[in-house]
Amino acid sequence: MHTDTPVIDVDRLVRRYGRTDAVDGLTLRVAPGRCYGFFGRNGAGKTTTIKCLLNLLRPTSGGIRVFGLDPARDEVAVKSRLAYVPDAVAFYPWMTVRGTLDYFASFRSRWNQETERALLDRFRLDPRQRASHLSKGQRTQLALITAICPEPDLLVLDEPTSGLDPIVRREFIQTVIGAYQEGDPGRRTVFVSTHLISEFEGLIDEFTILEHGRNVLTLDADTARQRYQKIHARFATDPGTVHLDGAQSVRQRGRDVEVVVDGRSTEVVDRLKARSPEALTIESLSLEEIFVATLQPAGAAA
C-alpha cells in the first residue's frame, strides 16, 4: 500500500553491552501513518532499540534509518520531526507546568496552543503547579502534552502506561488516538513499545514481537487475529490422546480439548468434527494471547 520511505527502518541491528547482546540482529520497517506495536517482555531489547533510534545509544552494528535519515549524522533533522515519551519521565523540579511547556515549546518550530489548552483541561493539570509536586500519572500526562503539541510526524512511546492507574491509562490512550492523529493521518506515525498489550489492542495496525533482541513475529493485527485461533471442543466421553497436526498447542482436560492454531484452523476443526464433539467453538486470540502463544511454544502452556 505504501511505496514511501519507511518512517523507521531497522536493518540487522546489533547492540552489545559487554558480552550481552541486548539487540541481536533486529530487522523491522514501519510505514508512514501506521500505529506500530513493539511488544516484548522486560529485557527483550525494546528500550535499547528505541535508544538507538533516538541516537541515545550507538549501534554495535547494523543500520538504522528514521525518515530515511541517519539518526546520528542528521540528528537535528530527525529529532525535529519526532517526539518521545520515555517510561520514566523527569522534568526540572523547580519549573511549573506552564514553565515546562514554554521551555519545551522553545525548542520546537511548531506548537499547537489549542491542543495544549484542550489537553491541560482534559487532564485537569494546574499550570501553576511545580513539576516536583506532580504525581507519576501527572508527569506522564505532561510528557504527553509536550510530545503532542509540536505535531511531530513520529511519536515514540516507550512503555508509556506502565505504573499508571486505569483511569489515567484510558485517558492516555484516548489522547493518543484523538489529538495526535488529528491533521494529516497519512503522515502521522506512532511507534509504541509495551508489554501491556491488551490496552492498545484496537490502536495497533501492525506489530513486532521481540525476544532476546530478535524479531520473533511481525504481522498486521487483523491478519494475526485471523490466523491465531483457539478451538475448544467437548466430547461425550474422554477422547483419549488427540493427535492434531498443525496445532500450536493442545490442552486436554478430560472431555475438553483446547487447541491453539496458527493459520491451520480448518484442518484442525475438520479433524475434531470427525470425532463428533458435543460442542465446538472457535475464537480468535487477542494480541496479548498471540504474544503469550508465540513466546510459549507448544507444550509449554501451563
Binding site: R34, Q174, I177, G178, Q181, L203, D205, D222, R225, S284
Partner: protein, 134 residues
C-alpha cells in the same frame, strides 16, 4: 446506532464496522440522509485507530451505503448502491450460496430455509417501520 467491536471474532475490525453500519441502515436504525459520527470521536469511543474507522467508511462508500461530502462528513445514501443490477444480484447470490451450504450441513431443508428468509425480510421491514414512526 451503536457499534461494538469484538476482537475475538476473527473478522477484521473495519469489516465488523462495515457490517454493523449496513445492518443499521437495513433495519432503519440509521435513516437515509442521516450523518455518521465523525472519525475522531468514534475512534476514541471504540478505542480503535482512526485508520480503521477511515478504512471502514471508505469501504462503505465504495459499496454505495454512504456518501462523503467534503467538509461535512459522511451520510447514509438515499438512492442506494451505484452498482448495476446484474452485479448487485451476483453479490447477493454469493451470500445466498454460503447460507444454502450452511443450511445443508445443519439439516435445514428448502421449505424451512425459504420460510426463514420470509421471516427475516418481515423482521427487517418491521424494524424499519418502527424506526420511521419514532
Amino acid at each position: 446506532m451503536r457499534l461494538e467491536i469484538n476482537f475475538k471474532s476473527g473478522k477484521p475490525v473495519y469489516l465488523q464496522m462495515v457490517d454493523q453500519v449496513k445492518a443499521a441502515a437495513a433495519s432503519g436504525a440509521v435513516q437515509p440522509g442521516e450523518p455518521l459520527p465523525s472519525i475522531r470521536p468514534l475512534a476514541e469511543e471504540l478505542r480503535v485507530n482512526r485508520n480503521t474507522v477511515a478504512k471502514a467508511y471508505a469501504e462503505l462508500e465504495r459499496q454505495g451505503v454512504i456518501e462523503s461530502i467534503a467538509g461535512k462528513g459522511c451520510f447514509v445514501r438515499t438512492n442506494g448502491s451505484p452498482l448495476k443490477k446484474a452485479v448487485r444480484m451476483e453479490l447477493v447470490t454469493h451470500e445466498i450460496d454460503a447460507a444454502v451450504i450452511q443450511a445443508h450441513h445443519l439439516q435445514v431443508n428448502k421449505a424451512e430455509f425459504l420460510r426463514l428468509a420470509e421471516e427475516r425480510f418481515a423482521a427487517f421491514q418491521q424494524r424499519r417501520d418502527r424506526a420511521a414512526n419514532e
